[in-house]
């Protein structure tokens, strides 16, 4: 299973977690912790009732951003490993939009890497969310995507290690 994926199929975080565990089982100390995060479609946004969402990605660029997040994780946590799967297309309430797994020999690093990965995804992954409400629709526009923005990267690291 690819550690990094943009897909219109439903996500399976357990399979991603299992793949990371297997890949690191016999490396160095081995794997003692896998931390997972699943982002799901919420039923409300700022008081409005959400009907469904549509996610869109610029896939070739997203794969390069994944490589970059992977390299950042390796530089900061050399013994940890991370995988990120992001869903695109139409998603219903409760469905998983992003699945992240982070593995390490010990739990502190696994928690940190998992949190770092989702913060970076939110900052720089070229993915857009289109929310459809009972009374209209809106694109969610947050961060200006810039992987070279060092201040943003440091912020993600601080949040991860808080």
């Amino acid at each position: 299973m690819s550690r990094f994926l943009i897909t219109s199929d439903p996500l399976a975080v357990e399979r991603l977690a299992a793949a990371l565990e297997q890949a690191s089982r016999h490396v160095d100390e081995g794997c003692g912790a896998v931390c997972t995060f699943v982002g799901v479609v919420r039923a409300t946004h700022k008081g409005r009732r959400v009907r469904h969402l549509e996610y869109e990605a610029f896939e070739p660029l997203a794969m390069k951003v994944f490589d970059r997040i992977d390299a950042e994780v390796r530089a900061e946590w050399p013994r940890a490993s991370v995988g990120i799967h992001h869903r695109i297309g139409r998603l219903e309430i409760g469905e998983a939009s992003v699945a992240i797994a982070a593995s390490s020999a010990h739990r502190p690093e696994a928690f940190q890497v998992c949190r770092y990965a989702i913060e970076r995804v939110k900052q720089v992954l070229p993915v857009w969310k289109h929310e459809f409400f009972e009374d209209g629709d809106a694109w969610v526009e947050g961060a200006v995507a810039d992987p070279d923005d060092e201040a943003a990267r440091v912020r993600a690291h601080e949040v991860a290690c808080a």
């Binding site: 996610y55 869109e56 610029f58 070739p60 660029l61 390069k64 995804v121 939110k122 900052q123 720089v124 992954l125 070229p126 993915v127 857009w128 969310k129 289109h130 694109w139 969610v140 526009e141 947050g142 961060a143 200006v144 995507a145 810039d146 992987p147 070279d148 943003a152």
Partner: protein, 83 residues
């Protein structure tokens, strides 16, 4: 020279299409391609301060020069990052 412009999400909706050809002078930058695109599709201009760009599927800067045949992508702010 001629480049291909791609836009995504809200920018695509505002322009009413996802891709077009853009003719620019030799020595033009990605910023020039953006200005020309925003003059063709005026609603895009609202994003002049928040747009990011890619050249041939890699992040780039607005002041980077373009070459004939390049594919220039303009990206609205991504869906996360609100703090």
């Amino acid at each position: 020279m001629r480049v291909t412009v791609q836009v995504f999400a809200r920018l695509r909706e505002l322009a009413g299409q996802s891709e077009w050809q853009c003719e620019v002078a030799p020595g033009a930058t990605i910023g020039d391609v953006w200005k020309k695109s925003a003059s063709t599709y005026p609603p895009l201009a609202d994003f002049s301060r928040s747009v990011s760009c890619a050249r041939n599927e890699d992040f780039a800067r607005m002041n980077a020069p373009v070459q004939d045949g390049d594919v220039i992508a303009f990206l609205p702010p991504v869906s996360g990052g609100v703090k």
